[in-house]
């Protein structure tokens, strides 16, 4: 590794460390200290910051409880209305019971994504450990809910009544596989999008070391940053609406 870096430096002064930004480091103490489960790390800090932002927007921002809202309250109401309508549209009235959970997911992912776009920031949602816990939480929660609400009828989700009889077992197998792939795609989609964008910015930033390439590098970083701003919002939305769709399957397993 060391020799590789030296060789790279020797070639043209180019250094690429696109993944350094994703390192988990203890916030206090020496770098290289062991990270145990309770250590306060940069991940802890940025997650906490996301929580603080949620509180600032939704609690502090709405403390006026004004019928004619302030700007921040208006934004809070906008987010509330957006997610509320999403849950209601996708899952129906019964799904609104789970609205606080979905709102929690959406706000955590949204703020993590956007805070991660700050220079020198750390993005918790770029870690598969985080997104996998989120996705598995949704998967397990939805599956348990499906069986609790519908009993064995929940398995009807895999048994296509519209399909010809001889196709049904085959479809059922495919449906079961796709059902179990859900948490994988659900989590990797989110983490992958963020990692790709963040790493790409770092790669282009690495090119800035060469004077001739630096203007191009700046333009590219700007462009990708703009794209990342979109991706941060869209991925939070996608994760949330998929959660709603899975929840709908649990509440109404018959297609």
């Amino acid at each position: 590794m060391a020799t590789e870096t030296v060789a790279a430096e020797g070639e043209g002064g180019l250094e690429f460390h696109p993944f350094d930004q994703f390192e988990i480091k203890p916030l206090f103490g020496e770098i290289g200290d062991p990270v145990s489960w309770y250590t306060i790390t940069n991940a802890t800090f940025w997650m906490a910051l996301a929580a603080v932002c949620v509180v600032l927007l939704l609690v502090v921002g709405t403390r006026g409880r004004a019928v004619i809202p302030s700007r921040v309250q208006s934004a809070a109401e906008l987010v509330y209305g957006f997610v509320y309508k999403m849950v209601e549209d996708v899952t129906g009235k019964e799904g609104l019971k789970y609205f606080p959970w979905i709102m929690t997911l959406f706000l955590f992912i949204l703020f993590s994504n956007y805070l991660g776009l700050l220079p020198l920031a750390f993005t918790p949602t770029s870690h598969i450990a985080v997104t996998a816990v989120l996705a598995l939480g949704v998967f397990i929660g939805v599956t348990v809910l499906g069986f609790v609400k519908n009993g064995m009828a929940f398995l009807g989700l895999f048994w296509m009544k519209e399909a010809p009889l001889f196709l049904r077992p085959i479809i059922a197998i495919i449906e079961v596989i796709s059902y179990f792939v859900r948490p994988v795609s659900h989590s990797i989609r989110l983490a992958g999008n963020l990692v790709a964008g963040h790493a790409m910015i770092k790669v282009f930033a690495g090119f800035a070391a060469v004077a001739a390439l630096s203007p191009l590098s700046v333009v590219a970083i700007t462009a990708i940053y703009g794209l990342e701003v979109l991706v941060a919002g869209i991925q939070a939305y996608v994760f949330t609406i998929l959660t709603c769709i899975y929840l709908k399957d649990a509440l109404h397993p018959s297609h």
Partner: protein, 182 residues
């Protein structure tokens, strides 16, 4: 041995920053998962206890206020319509009343006028009759005077001729002459 340990330590230090992705460093997973769960619980608690009920209440209150305002506006408009209708009706009534009064007054005046006219006509007729009578009397008087004067003149003329005129003859002659003229 010592160098090996250092090398191993360096490798371990570099392990996280090494060529692999930090995302795949399983040793950091418990930390991330623990703090993620803490964060999610905190956010969920804040949302479900404070934020969401409050925003929901504010939105409901606003919807209620808007509905009430619209209902009140509707009510006011309804009342304005009623007031306008009442006003129009009052105006129409007043107009009808005025017309009636005008017509009555006109009829009254006409009646009075007719009565006065009749009276005046009667008076005029009376006066006319009186005048006619006077004129007739005067005429009659005049005629009688004429015949008397004519008789006297005739008698005198006859007397001047020297003959005693028979009164009867003179009278009849004068009457005959006057009758011719009349």
């Amino acid at each position: 041995m010592a160098t090996e340990t250092i090398a191993a330590g360096e490798l371990a230090d570099h392990g996280a920053a090494g060529p692999g992705m930090p995302q795949l460093d399983v040793s950091s997973f418990p930390n991330q998962i623990f703090w993620l769960l803490v964060t999610l619980v905190v956010i969920y608690f804040v949302l479900s206890r404070f934020a969401l009920p409050r925003i929901g209440a504010v939105l409901a209150e606003r919807a209620g206020t808007i509905t009430n305002d619209i209902a009140a506006a509707e009510e006011l408009r309804h009342r304005a319509r009623e007031a306008e209708a009442a006003y129009d009706k009052a105006l129409a009534d007043a107009r009808a009343e005025a017309n009636k009064i005008v017509a009555d007054t006109k009829a009254q005046i006409q009646a009075d006028l007719d009565a006065e006219m009749e009276k005046a006509d009667a008076q005029i007729a009376e006066k006319t009759a009186e005048s006619q009578k006077a004129i007739d009397e005067i005429r009659e008087g005049a005629a009688r005077n004429v015949s008397e004067v004519a008789r006297d003149v005739a008698r005198e003329i006859v007397a001047a001729f020297g003959t005693e005129a028979d009164a009867k003859t003179v009278d009849s002659a004068v009457d005959a002459k006057l009758g011719e003229r009349a």
